[in-house]
């Protein structure tokens, strides 16, 4: 049985006339008996078998081996299937439009089928996802998760076709996306992963796929509660400037709201295991007189149609500047983390466009922010793209020659955040 708690961190004091209320809400799900989850689950592995996967041949070999490792991690009883994708989508195991319950026998059969995959044809990711959606339709009660592996661009269908499929799949299953090699498009996979509440990452070396697949499946198997939403109430006359997940990664949820009533909206967060996530909420309210207090927001968790925990976001107007100018530590931290992600993405884009001045400025700012917040992983990735001269001032020089994989890794992992260092810990 998973229990959820929501806790708000904010400076509730606003100056006279102040209308922007910021808060970080930490949501923690803890399982009384982790590992012993009995939740119904469904898992689909989607493997790219387009022609390019065969050159070098090591790519397809690594993909099929990684898939085999992932299949071995699927718990008994979980409904699963494998899809092979090129310019069409094909059910590889089982070879019909349904999922089967995992058992020693079915896992063996699936691995056998995967081992015989051949690389041929083009890439139409939308069709792969559409088939997965069709397969998942038979298990509406289960926590539904897919892994998508590709090595190339979505070339054999139009962006409009892909968007249409994504719209159908949104909310129906979660999908973690992995790009192998460097011929795929970060923006494209990020769009798919974000819409389907999953992660995106690069696996530059095919040999590293096994560990990554294993970690993804284990994480998916650890999810005990599916379809959790944040329910946000804001007062009449207020508007939600943004609601972002800010840890473990930055995901802007603002546009994902579905209205419950005039003042309340739900934001999907997918399935939860034993974990903790942070959200940054920014609400614009209509200011009240000094000395008055307003409830600027109420964040609850919707689990199985019930609100299980709530955090209150308050606004209290004061003419004491010492109170109103204080910036809450958590809010400041994640504002910096969001700026860091933006600086990396904008800096890399500018570099691609040949705008060295902007690229140097943005990536320098990224180095400064990462150093200040202690994002050591991000610092290592930045060092692959720039020569850091002085981290705390953000003085950097663009590297004349950059490994494409380093650049893509920095881009895909730019949204990974570090959490606030709690005092005394």
């Amino acid at each position: 049985m998973t229990t959820f708690t929501a806790e708000a961190y904010q400076n509730e004091y606003l100056p006279a006339g102040g209308e922007e209320v910021n808060a970080v809400v930490t949501v923690t799900a803890s399982d009384a008996a982790p590992g012993a989850t009995s939740a119904q689950a469904a898992e689909i592995i989607i493997v790219d078998v387009s022609g390019s996967m065969g050159s070098p041949r090591a790519k397809l070999t690594a993909a099929t081996r990684a898939t085999a490792v992932a299949i071995d991690c699927i718990r008994d009883g979980v409904m699963f299937g494998v899809i092979a994708g090129n310019d069409t989508a094909r059910a590889v195991y089982p070879q019909e439009v349904r999922l089967v319950a995992a058992s020693p026998q079915t896992r063996e059969d699936a691995k056998q089928a995967v081992a015989e995959l051949k690389a041929t044809g083009g890439t139409a990711i939308g069709r792969w996802l559409a088939l997965a959606d069709e397969l998942f339709a038979a298990t509406p009660e289960a926590i539904r998760h897919a892994i998508l592996l590709t090595d190339g661009r979505d070339e054999h269908e139009t962006p409009v076709e892909l968007e249409a499929v994504l719209a159908d799949c949104e909310g129906s299953f979660q999908c973690d996306c992995r790009g192998v090699g460097t011929d795929w498009e970060v923006q494209e996979l990020r769009r798919i992963a974000t819409t389907l509440l999953g992660t995106v990452d690069i696996v530059a070396e095919p040999a590293d796929l096994q560990d990554d697949f294993q970690a993804m499946i284990e994480r998916a198997m650890g999810k005990a509660t599916g379809d959790v939403s944040l329910r946000l109430w804001t007062p009449q006359g207020a508007s939600v400037a943004f609601l972002k997940q800010v840890a473990p990664t930055i995901e802007d949820l603002t546009a994902r709201s579905s209205a419950v009533d005039a003042l309340t909206a739900d934001y999907p967060t997918g399935a939860w295991g034993d974990e903790s996530r942070d959200y940054h909420l920014c609400v614009h309210v209509q200011p009240r007189a000094v000395g008055e207090e307003m409830l600027a927001g109420r964040v609850g968790l919707m689990v199985g149609g019930e609100t299980v925990s709530q955090a209150l976001i308050r606004a209290l107007w004061t003419d004491d500047e010492q109170l109103s100018t204080r910036i809450n530590r958590e809010v400041a931290h994640y504002t910096g983390q969001a700026e860091l992600a933006d600086a990396i993405q904008e800096g890399l884009e500018a570099r691609k466009q040949g705008d060295e001045h902007t690229a140097t400025f943005k990536l320098g700012r990224a180095v400064q922010l990462a150093a200040a917040a202690g994002n050591s992983d991000t610092m290592k990735l930045l060092a692959g793209v720039v020569d850091v001269q002085e981290a705390h001032t953000g003085t950097v020089r663009l590297k004349p020659r950059v490994q494409e994989a380093d650049e893509m890794a920095l881009d895909t992992r730019s949204t990974k955040t570090v959490r606030v260092k709690k005092p005394g810990s």
Binding site: R288, V290, E292, M294, R314
Partner: protein, 336 residues
Amino acid sequence: MDMSSSETALACGTCQAALLPGDRYCERCGTRVGPALDEETRAGGGCTACAAPAEAIDADWYCSRCGVRQRSPQDRQEIDLVVAAGVSDRGRVRRRNEDALHLQAVGESGVAVVVCDGISSSLSAEEAARRGADAAGAVLAEALLGEQAVLAEATRNAVGTAQQAVLEVPWTSRSDRDVPSCTLVSAVCRDGELVIGWVGDSRAYWIAGDDSRQLTVDHSWAQEQVAAGLLSVQEAGADKRAHSITRWLGQDAPDDEPQIVTLRPTDPGRLVLCSDGLWNYMPDAAGIAAQLDALPPGTAAITAAHSLADAALAAGGHDNITVAVLNVTPPGRDDQ
């Protein structure tokens, strides 16, 4: 129950005095006899900001439509018994009013006043102050009903009872916060005799022109440093521990024996009881005297209380502000 339509004779549950239909307080002993403040405010209508119906106000006093927090009965409490009056206000910064005021007139000249300040680092500070003030006030009022009561003895009993009441405040264990606790200052007055009792840093002042003076001595770190000759008043006040109190009511209280002073004024004057939300802005008796001297002669106690509370609010209202004022006329004199 609808008091006003009842045909049966009404009587106060405390002193059995007859009540008139519609009375909210007993005229004799001051006990509240109308509906509870809480129900009255809720029944009184909906949101003061957006006019949402009463049902829209949630348990924490927020309007579930526009979010504006409604004034709870505790946010602003006013009691006017003519001879004595008091105001307790949430102030302009704190979210809750964790001060409590109890004021009761008994018989011809008896008055009992209690001010408690819930310690804001403690759990249920609001509840501790409320229960402490009401428990002490009830004991003092009861004593005033008996002709021969010794007021100092009654004060000791009142504080002991308040301590018991604070101990009974429910709380859940949370290691990072203190258990429910509060300060207390009381005054009981009859036939020209004033007995003041206190625990903590809520204060009493005697205000009568040049004779104005502070009657209580804070049970606080700053006061102890000054009393021991270790620091000057200025040095002690500037230290961040200045407001740490050394005595209080509650489970972890050092003891519950109040310090007591007795006063028999020969000239008319005013007794002022207050929490630190007031005296932070007017620490010296002279400052309070100046504020009250600016009022026209014969000003009602409630007006004097308003004047002091408003001055503290205007100065920032950083803490909860509670102030009670008693107009004192020595027996045989009626020139106040």
